[in-house]
């Protein structure tokens, strides 16, 4: 099989992994090596679906012994199978990296023979890349649940970021759709990686040249929309993962039908829940950067995120007593709660108001988008001039702001002959 065919098959099999970030680690290149990483990461291209292409995202192999119902690589699926040899994959990575096509390698794998064998194969690839080619770029590797902890450790010493996919948001769903995987077998490597990272950090504080274990942290991914969990359940789980496992990121991936299993939503009329995924990411940002708690975003009476509005707007509408916020006095935390104000705007406000009082004109110049924020702010005690909104029309205003951007249902062509009555 030619390299081109292998690449086609194994990139196609890997594309459903959401994570393609190259962030979290600053490492400048050293003479004699090739490659560097930057803290913010770097997108090298954007694919036709608008997702960032930062890493060469491929599987080592798509030959799998498991039969997970949601997965395109499951044993029972009739797809072409291929496997990269470690040398081939290294050659490909280096060729792409030198031409500035990519920021590094994202290496995942289906489970060939057993988890240990698979991990050994990945370690061989990464070993050649790091030692023979002296590659200093970004490497994101998937830890294979069920592999020997010592192998996972060796993988972490070669990679910059490790991830274990949690796949489905609850253990009953997992038992139903991925009978070969157990919740414990997923969480065990996760806590092992967490402990490895914190131990490595302590060691580096003492010895500068101590080996670095997954210096860019770990992340995970779950599939949304294949199983009946509520958004509240997912967000609570996410928060627990951030707190308990110190994850850098949790990725959500809207379920896309790749299987005709009777246990999954019907493929014909099923639309991937992209808007729900978008809202979940918005809520995820609130958790990570805006000091929100999952319980604040959604409570028991409201288990799902409102598709019409972003979660911060929803929170604001439920807490109108908190507003309006006075731009010239409010602290950073309060500013972050205002819909339309982000981390950057809030920081700019803090800087600018040291010089003099801020007006709405000034806010615009700072780059604050007043579209949403105007309803929730006062400048020196005044609302924006000419703005008159009662509480009940506020909801309508906010919903109409987002309405054009939301995907309208595709108009359907009526057929004269095919009337299914």
């Amino acid at each position: 099989m030619e390299l081109l065919d292998k690449l086609n098959i194994l990139a196609d099999a890997a594309k459903y992994d959401a994570a393609c970030t190259s962030s979290g680690l600053d490492r400048s290149g050293r003479p004699g090596t090739i490659g560097s990483t930057t803290l913010a990461g770097c997108c090298h291209s954007f694919s036709a679906d608008g997702r960032c292409v930062s890493l060469l995202k491929v599987l080592q192999t798509n030959l799998c012994v498991y039969d997970c119902q949601y997965c395109v690589n499951r044993r029972s699926n009739d797809v072409p199978r291929a496997a990269f040899t470690p040398e081939e994959l290294c050659e490909l990575t280096m060729g792409f990296y030198r031409r500035n096509y990519i920021e590094g390698l994202f290496l995942s794998s289906a489970v060939i023979r057993n988890p240990d064998y698979t991990t050994e194969l990945m370690i061989r690839t990464l070993g050649i890349l790091r030692e023979k080619h002296r590659f200093g770029g970004y490497i994101h590797a998937k830890a294979i649940p069920g592999a020997d902890p010592l192998l996972t450790r060796r993988l972490g010493l070669l990679a910059d970021r490790l991830s274990v996919n949690i796949e489905l948001p609850s253990s009953p769903s997992l038992a139903l759709l991925a009978p070969d995987k157990k919740k414990e077998s997923i969480l065990t490597p996760m806590s092992q990686i967490r402990d490895g990272i914190s131990q490595s950090k302590r060691e580096i504080a003492v010895y500068r040249h101590a080996p670095r274990f997954a210096p860019a942290g770990q992340s995970t991914q779950m599939i949304v929309g294949a199983t009946p969990e509520s958004d509240r359940h997912i967000l609570t789980l996410t928060q627990a993962l951030y707190n308990r496992y110190q994850l850098k990121r949790v990725f959500y991936s809207a379920y896309i039908p790749v299987s005709s299993s009777p246990l999954l939503p019907v493929p014909e009329h099923f639309q991937p829940p992209l808007l729900r995924e978008h809202r979940l990411y918005q809520a995820d940002w609130l958790l990570r950067y805006y000091h929100f708690r999952a319980e604040e975003i959604l409570d028991e009476s409201q288990p799902d995120l409102d598709p019409r509005m972003d979660p911060k707007c929803c929170w604001a509408l439920r807490h109108l007593d908190f507003f309006p916020v006075e731009v010239n006095r409010a602290d950073y935390e309060a500013l972050l709660r205002v819909p339309g104000l982000g981390v950057r705007s809030a920081r700019r406000i803090l800087t600018a108001r040291r010089v003099g009082p801020l007006t709405f004109e000034g806010l615009k110049r700072l780059g604050v988008v007043l579209k949403r924020a105007q309803y929730f702010l006062t400048c020196s005690g005044r609302m924006m001039a000419g703005l008159r909104v009662s509480e009940d029309s506020l909801l309508r205003h906010l919903v109409s702001l987002e309405a054009p951007a939301l995907a309208a249902p595709m108009p359907e062509q009526l057929s004269l002959f095919n009337s299914a009555v």
Partner: protein
């Protein structure tokens, strides 16, 4: 006390501009226009031709210490931007800086500071985009890349690419400003280059381009097709120089005749 308003003529370089600042302060004159000898139009204001003086420039440059780290960065980077009348805005910014010191940078609502900051942000943003969107081709062991930036991004791209490829020989050519960054292990230079024509691509290079295009086309998920999102993140003006689009040239794109032609 008003300063006399003048038109400064300088050689278009940064030291030249700093010499203008020096001379204007010495002569108590306020520049309201900057021009280079190539500019055709003449000015109604009295013309001052400023000779570039390295020692004067250095003194002005050192005075930027008073603006704080951020302010100094703005004062230097603003000159690389594509802001119309950047010299004038920069002059106003410097005046403000000398009057208020570090505080000037914090005054984000001031029109001058705002203008300079936004221009520099544009420069830095474009630099970041080009860190990702630059494409190199290997021609006889040398990596060759070309870009078409609005701002002069090469000085800002230089540390990134030199750190990324410490063992490589590479050339990065800026078509708009006719400058090129040359690098070989341990040494680099940014020189102005008038005519830049790299040779044709070899077989190995063609093969890698093919592989990359295959990967790029495979990685998109059909069910999530979202061209608008792609254009937001990667505006079309970058596409012409990117390997993954070079097979799909329509007439809407500029012709890339300098780059070796894409495989059919």
């Amino acid at each position: 006390m008003f300063w006399t308003q003048v038109c400064c003529q300088y050689d278009g370089t940064y030291p030249g501009f700093l010499s203008c600042v020096f001379d204007c302060y010495v002569n108590r004159e306020e520049p309201v226009e900057f021009r280079t000898p190539e500019d055709m139009c003449c000015s109604l204001y009295p013309l001052r031709t400023v000779e570039t003086d390295e020692s004067h420039a250095l003194r002005v440059y050192r005075s930027f210490e008073n603006f704080g780290r951020e302010g100094r960065e703005l004062a230097v980077r603003c000159f690389l931007t594509c802001l119309p009348d950047k010299e004038l805005w920069l002059w106003r910014f410097l005046r403000l800086g000398y009057r208020q010191g570090k505080k000037a940078v914090q005054n984000l609502t001031d029109p001058t500071v705002d203008k300079v900051r936004k221009a520099v942000w544009h420069l830095e943003h474009e630099t970041h985009q080009y860190k990702g969107f630059t494409r190199f081709s290997e021609l006889e062991g040398v990596l060759v890349g070309e870009i078409e930036p609005k701002n002069r991004v090469l000085p800002l791209l230089r540390p990134h690419f030199c750190s990324r490829y410490p063992q490589e020989r590479f050339v990065l050519y800026d078509r708009i400003h006719s400058e090129a960054l040359f690098h070989r292990p341990g040494k680099w230079a940014i020189l102005s280059v008038d005519n830049f024509t790299p040779g044709p691509a070899g077989e190995a290079e063609q093969a890698f381009r093919k592989l990359w295009r295959a990967f790029y086309n495979t990685i998109a998920i059909e069910e999530r097709y979202n061209p608008r999102c792609r254009m937001t993140h990667m505006p079309k003006r970058y596409w012409a120089m990117m390997t993954e689009f070079q097979e799909d040239y329509g007439t809407a794109f500029p012709e890339v005749n300098v780059l070796p032609s894409a495989p059919k």
